[in-house]
């Protein structure tokens, strides 16, 4: 019998920050981390000296880690974590920061994900991303995650009968959302015809199935609810959170993610059902993974995500709002900040600061994470349900 996990009650998540994305930057990751921390300080009114916890996610800090950043930024914390887990780092940072705050190990934790993108960064990152990538995937065409997710997508299409048009609906609706997000890199509407006609990258992956690497940062603060209330900070609360690593390794090719193992516990902890969720922020490195999240998080049955996306609109004002910021597919992927994008967007939705792309009467939002293609699939999955304070 597994121990019943403690709830995340009493923890506030506040101050969603986006350091605007640029396609390429000559700055280092530290510049973006510094910018994010400065924005957190200014927006919260909490002086830097009172930020006593830091949870950092970045790929391009090398050879530095989070502790080097404390010296760079003149920050003295009593709690520190480094979470280089990319697309899952938003959920993972939040979970760790929340526990630190509950335990009293820290009062105010800055969660920051930041990466720079030099002209040749992406290529250099791919070949040295992991030992397994260096030995067993990069020498095969050097397509990076495009070819890995091409395998997964082709296999999913064959197994469950999904069509490119289904993936296209996800990309097109996210673009509609992005047009209401001033931070999004893509400013032009995308039609399904344009999606279908895009050039092939790694069949069946085409151009608009891929994210655009860029530089930028996302950040938020975690503290006790009383503190947030005292400071008058708009915030969300954590209703439930899960993570799982290296799940279903017996599947010869990825058809499901670790969310499926833990989702019942997630919803039970939140005291909610999938139908109660007002919006989701899925991890959209590729549309097929968005469909897997819809299935594995319980919004539809396995293999039925095609029908599900056909029967819903996924715009912020639609029947199933998904990635209301535009997601990485339309906002851009600022390295590890891509793993925070859903979190900052969910906070904006739940603190009434999402502007023209607000989801009407949003009370509960689900943010999912997915990260780290070390060999043939992403290893980390996570999800959190955020709500408005009672």
């Amino acid at each position: 019998m597994r121990t019943q996990r403690l709830s995340y009650e009493g923890v506030a998540v506040a101050i969603p920050i986006t350091v605007p994305y640029v396609r390429y930057s000559t700055k280092t990751a530290h510049w973006f981390v510094g910018h994010a921390l400065d924005a957190l300080v200014k927006a919260s009114g909490i002086p830097k000296s009172q930020i006593d916890g830091l949870c950092l996610s970045s790929f391009s800090l090398v050879p530095d880690t989070a502790v080097g950043v404390t010296q760079h930024l003149g920050l003295s914390t009593r709690w520190l974590d480094h979470m280089p887990t990319g697309g899952a780092s938003g959920v993972m940072c939040l979970r760790r920061a929340a526990r630190a705050v509950q335990a009293g190990d820290a009062d105010v934790v800055a969660c920051i994900a930041a990466d720079t993108n030099h002209v040749d960064s992406f290529r250099q990152t791919l070949g040295s991303f992991s030992n397994f990538a260096r030995d067993a995937t990069y020498p095969y065409g050097s397509g990076g995650p495009n070819s890995i997710f091409a395998f997964i997508t082709a296999h999913y299409m064959r197994t469950f009968g999904a069509k490119r048009e289904d993936f296209g609906r996800i990309a097109v609706d996210q673009r509609t959302n992005a047009l209401q997000n001033p931070h999004a890199m893509f400013k032009k509407p995308l039609t399904l015809a344009e999606y279908m006609d895009a050039r092939p990258i790694s069949d069946p992956i085409h151009l608009f199935d891929c994210v655009m690497p860029c530089a930028g940062a996302e950040a938020f603060l975690v503290m006790r609810e009383e503190r947030a209330r005292d400071l008058g900070l708009a915030h969300a609360v954590i209703r439930g959170a899960i993570e799982r690593h290296n799940a279903y390794s017996e599947d010869p090719l990825m058809v499901r993610g670790g969310w499926a193992i833990d989702r019942d516990e997630l919803f039970a902890q939140a005291g909610a059902q999938p139908a109660d969720i007002d919006f989701i922020q899925t991890y959209d490195d590729y549309p097929v993974i968005v469909m897997m999240q819809m299935e594995d998080l319980g919004f539809c049955q396995k293999g039925e995500a095609s029908d599900f996306v056909q029967s819903h609109t996924m715009t912020f004002d639609g029947s199933f709002p998904n990635n209301t910021s535009g997601g990485q597919l339309s906002a851009g992927q600022a390295g590890a900040a891509g793993g925070f994008l859903g979190m900052t967007e969910a906070l904006r939705q739940l603190t009434d600061s999402a502007g023209p792309r607000s989801v009407a009467n949003a009370q509960l939002g689900l943010v999912a994470g997915f990260g780290m293609v070390t060999y043939d699939r992403c290893l980390c999955t996570g999800a959190v349900i955020l709500g408005r304070p009672a």
Binding site: N131, F132, P139, G141, S142, S147, F151, S202, S249, P252
Partner: protein, 417 residues
């Protein structure tokens, strides 16, 4: 079905010769076990000595039972192609220049799922395939999925041609045409579709049997080449160095002496002068041009073959000075391999057992026939193999050397060939 390779058009001399960009060559130390096996034409994966689980990608500890006792074991390669993709974009220059490029994910019957290059004859997933390991142009092992049944032109597959040094339509230099081995090599290369075979002969006034036969072949041109003479090597390189795609250095001097059996160093010097310094002279003169043309179209420069000897691994005292010269040549060949790798030129070392020739007259059988050796060299070129040990004696000595080199040394000292 693979479209047979057509004779490439004549090169346009006005255009710049394309430079080589190698595929990604970085590997961790453990993963080099795959390369070590592929260099000899085998597909091996780590297998747990405790629970028999097959591991991939290569690792330090068994993913099932955590045992560190992982041994490289031969694999059948049988599996099912689960998914495939054709790349139209790559982050690496080698592939970018060769797009589109097809890849597959194969679930091996032995357990793991492996990412592979995909032979053009493999159809759509799902279907049964056979996975093998090959050295790529960077000299590192990669996995390739083949159709279960191959056709006659399978080796002409565009992707495979990038990995191998098939003599078809290539221009080859064989450094010594006087010997039976040299003549067998020439015939085997012509049969394999070589475009031109230049054949060296050091002393044209000496009339030896067999040269007329091979010089009658339309692909063959006799060229003066004396490996003991730097000027001779240099002159020939000036003439044909820019056209040779494959160098096969089979010139050797072989005398049957140890140390005490002959006073003085003249015989040993003659062996070293051809077997070691001859290779050095040849490599200095022909190496740079070969390296400069390694990406020169479908039939660009691709390989360098050294005829060594199984005696290079451990000294055979009755042929003691010959063994030493071959050990020196082996060491130099490793240097040559390292220097040629950045250009993607494959250096193939051939370690035959005793040849059936006059210098092994007193050796008991089995002895290696010249045409068997020649066919083994052509097969190594076709299969992209780096080290070959043709013949039963070579195979047996190799096994004994691998098992325990000290024991082999004692056995050879006691006359146990």
């Amino acid at each position: 079905m693979t479209i047979p390779l057509m004779r490439p058009p004549r090169k346009n001399p006005v255009l710049r010769t394309r430079q080589m960009n190698l595929p990604p060559g970085a590997r961790g130390r453990v993963a080099l076990g795959l390369t070590a096996a592929a260099a000899e034409g085998r597909f091996e994966l780590q297998t747990c000595e405790d629970c028999n689980s097959v591991q991939y990608p290569p690792r330090e500890v068994c993913h099932q039972c955590l045992s560190p006792r992982l041994q490289w074991r031969a694999q059948s390669g049988a599996g099912v192609l689960l998914s495939s993709t054709t790349l139209h974009h790559s982050n690496d220059l080698f592939f970018r220049e060769r797009l589109p490029w097809t890849l597959g994910m194969v679930h091996l019957d032995a357990g793991p799922t492996v990412m592979t290059h995909l032979h053009g004859d493999v159809g759509t997933a799902p279907q049964k395939v056979r996975v093998g390991a090959r050295l790529d142009r960077a000299g590192q092992a990669v996995l390739i999925a083949y159709p279960q049944e191959g056709d006659a032109h399978m080796a002409d597959d565009k992707m495979l041609r990038e990995m191998t040094s098939d003599p078809k339509f290539r221009k080859v230099l064989v450094t010594d045409g006087k010997t039976e081995v040299g003549q067998s090599l020439v015939k085997a290369l012509v049969k394999a579709g070589a475009d031109i075979v230049w054949v060296g002969h050091a002393e044209p006034w000496k009339k030896l049997g067999g040269l007329e036969d091979i010089s009658a072949l339309p692909q063959v041109t006799l060229v003066p080449l004396d490996l003991t003479n730097g000027r001779s090597v240099s002159e020939l390189a000036g003439e044909i160095g820019g056209k040779v795609d494959i160098v096969i250095n089979n010139a050797e001097v072989h005398r049957n002496f140890g140390i005490a059996a002959r006073r003085g160093t003249d015989a040993a010097k003659a062996e070293m002068d051809i077997n070691y310094f001859g290779l050095l002279r040849l490599a200095q003169e022909f190496g740079p041009a070969l390296m400069g043309r390694s990406a020169d179209g479908e039939t660009g420069a691709s390989a360098w073959v050294n005829l060594l000897s199984i005696y290079a691994l451990s000294n055979f005292p009755p042929h003691g000075t010959f063994s030493a010269s071959k050990a020196a040549a082996h060491s130099l060949a490793q240097c040559l391999r390292a220097e040629m790798r950045p250009a993607g030129i494959r250096v193939i070392n051939v370690f035959p057992g005793p040849l059936d020739d006059e210098w092994n007259q007193q050796m008991p059988p089995p002895k290696l026939a010249a045409n068997t050796l020649a066919n083994a060299v052509v097969k190594a070129l076709r299969d992209g193999i780096e080290d070959i040990y043709p013949g039963d004696v070579a195979q047996e000595w190799l096994e004994r050397w691998r098992d325990n080199p000290k024991v082999l040394e004692r056995e050879l000292a006691a006359g146990g060939g």
